[in-house]
């Protein structure tokens, strides 16, 4: 049995398809990351998994329970930490956890011990009796995460766990997530639009864009699939561009070519041998190379290679539609 399993999961709002025929599964004990830009369908998928939205068609099983037919059992087996911090500011840290414990039906005689346990894990024991309004952003997030795992859920959902936090706090949160994963042996499903986060935390990553999963693999395999080096070059304006591209594609080490106008990104292995060949071809065709560089691929490059655009590129037509649909629902 998988921790998460979906079959042709689809969710549409009117004629807008937010999640489009998504099928994948997550193994027990895995940290699985959904990576994609805003509006890619990450949050919608997570809302379906956490029983907040009903799918239009298809199926999703969480810890073996169907989100449509058996929502109550799903809710008993999940922890959900939302993107925005949801702790009650005027309650103390401990009171917040007490509320969470009661919401999740933790037996009365275990509540105190569980709270002590997670407070220690997230290192907030000394601040537990202060009102949350005095906490920093990172502390609130930690408290929120603690609330999500208080009842030892089988699957913990983290929606953009470090969005809006500074880089040190972000790293700290990553440490806690890893600690939780080891200590409780939970399956963790997270969404993120930070490459570094996905690279750092996840056993496997699903890249989602336009409501569709483009690829699922481990971060390492993804980077390897692109070859181990990237050559970026810019050429001058010329008439032989198409011919130049065709010639480049013939070089055996080049695995993939992305082009943005006159800038070419070549995913390759053996870059040091490839560069002289590129110069050879360009001089044969009378093309001038203005700049050229050789780098190691990052997950950013993987993302671009699968989606054709950068992750921070929020201005696609698809996003505008999503925002429009959201506004329409708000106005009703």
């Amino acid at each position: 049995m998988y921790a998460i399993e979906t079959k042709s999961l689809t969710k549409s709002f009117g004629d807008l398809v937010a999640v489009n025929d998504v099928s994948f599964s997550v193994e027990k004990g895995e940290i699985f990351g959904f990576l994609g830009p805003n509006g890619a369908g990450k949050s919608t998928t997570m809302m379906i998994f956490t029983t907040l939205l009903k799918p239009t068609s298809g199926k999703a099983l969480i810890a073996g329970f169907d989100v449509m037919k058996d929502a109550k059992h799903v809710r008993e087996n999940i922890g959900f930490v939302q993107q925005e911090t949801t702790v009650d500011e005027y309650l103390t840290g401990r009171e917040n956890l007490l509320l969470q414990a009661k919401l999740n039906h933790i037996p009365k005689n275990e509540i105190n011990q569980r709270i002590d346990e997670v407070l220690e894990l997230i290192e907030l024991s000394d601040k537990q009796h202060q009102a949350v309004v005095t906490y920093s952003g990172g502390m609130r997030k930690r408290l929120d995460i603690a609330g999500g795992l208080l009842h030892h859920p089988k699957v913990l959902f983290l929606d953009e766990p470090t969005v809006g936090l500074d880089i040190q706090t972000r790293r700290k949160i990553w440490q806690y997530i890893k600690k939780i994963h080891i200590e409780f042996d939970m399956t963790i499903f997270l969404t993120t639009h930070y490459m570094e986060e996905a690279d750092n935390l996840c056993d496997r990553i699903g890249i989602i864009d336009g409501g569709k999963i483009q690829v699922i693999d481990s971060p390492q395999n993804m980077k390897n699939a692109l070859g181990n080096e990237i050559i970026s070059l810019v050429v001058n304006n010329n008439n032989n561009h198409d011919l130049f591209l065709a010639e480049l594609k013939k070089i055996e080490f080049i695995k993939k070519i992305n082009e943005e106008d006159l800038k070419l990104i070549l995913f390759t292995s053996n870059g040091t041998e490839v560069i002289p060949k590129i110069f050879q071809i360009s001089s044969d065709l009378g093309i001038k190379i203005t700049t050229i560089s050789l780098t190691q691929p990052t997950l950013d490059d993987v993302f671009i290679s699968y989606t054709g655009h950068e992750i921070r590129d929020d201005k696609s037509k698809f996003n505008r539609k999503i925002e429009h649909a959201k506004m329409k629902r708000l106005r009703a």
Partner: protein, 261 residues
């Protein structure tokens, strides 16, 4: 069933914790009813002959004090549901919805907390009334009066929670509340005797649960029965109102929160 009680209590506990931490609000919310009882009570003191004409022997202020107690209950409870909107906006609602507690328990927990808060506010107004010279022939009556205020507020908070669950914005919510609150108060014998209303208004007033609550509280407070409505009928109407509101609120709330916000 057991778990719905436990869940209701969890939400109730949370709402009261939040209320306790916002102490300044307690006093601010008392200002309006205090103005009503002190200012309006004195402005209209010359209307005593009107009240006497329907068999009420005391001062006008004693006549309208029960009306202001109910006014406090109406406005505290009808505003009380607004944090449902905040909860949906700031994620607490989603947190509760993804936990195993039932949707009805969220609504019921909110309603019972609001009704207790309304009763607390009303008891402070009773204190003010006593301080400015309103007397109780039988001080023990304060116990059943508080019971009625709690029940009535439970029903009224249902209106508020239902509207808040249905409204998608603060503006819609406040618009609806203003549309409902004042007319329900005015179309009751809170300020003037039922007998003095023109017929068509009296008919409308008799469809208003506020009317029965005011009459009942007035009778318990002053001993004067008014409007020819027996106590048992008033109690029955209040119970029916509360049960209806509990049912409507559970149903509408469950339906609305299952839609995306």
């Amino acid at each position: 069933m057991n778990s719905i009680m436990y869940d209701t209590y969890t939400i109730f506990w949370r709402e009261l914790k939040r209320y306790k931490k916002s102490r300044s609000g307690v006093l601010i919310r008392l200002i309006q009813p205090a103005i009503w009882i002190i200012v309006v009570g004195n402005i209209f003191s010359e209307t005593q002959p009107l009240i006497q004409s329907v068999g009420f022997e005391g001062e006008y202020i004693e006549f309208m004090a029960p009306g202001v107690i109910i006014l406090t209950a109406i406005f505290t409870s009808i505003f009380g549901g607004v944090n449902t909107l905040w909860d949906r906006r700031y994620g607490f609602m989603n947190k509760a919805l993804t936990s195993p507690i039932s949707r009805s328990a969220i609504a019921l927990g909110k309603m019972s907390a609001i009704s207790l808060i309304a009763a607390l506010q009303a008891s402070l107004i009773i204190g003010i009334a006593l301080a400015i010279g309103v007397t109780f022939p039988n001080p023990l009556m304060i116990i059943p009066i508080m019971g009625i205020v709690i029940l009535f507020s439970l029903g009224f908070s249902g209106i508020s929670v239902t509207l808040a669950a249905t409204a998608k914005s603060q503006e819609t919510f406040w618009g609806m509340i203003n549309l409902l609150g004042m007319p329900l108060f005015m179309l009751s014998p809170a300020l003037f005797p039922l007998e003095l209303l023109p017929n068509w208004l009296a008919v409308i007033a008799k469809l208003n649960p506020v009317t029965y609550t005011v009459l009942l509280v007035r009778e318990l407070m002053t001993g004067v029965s008014e409007g020819g409505i027996p106590i048992l009928i008033s109690i029955a109407v209040i119970f029916a109102f509360v049960l209806t509101m509990v049912a409507i609120t559970s149903y509408v709330f469950t339906r609305e929160v299952n839609k995306p916000f």
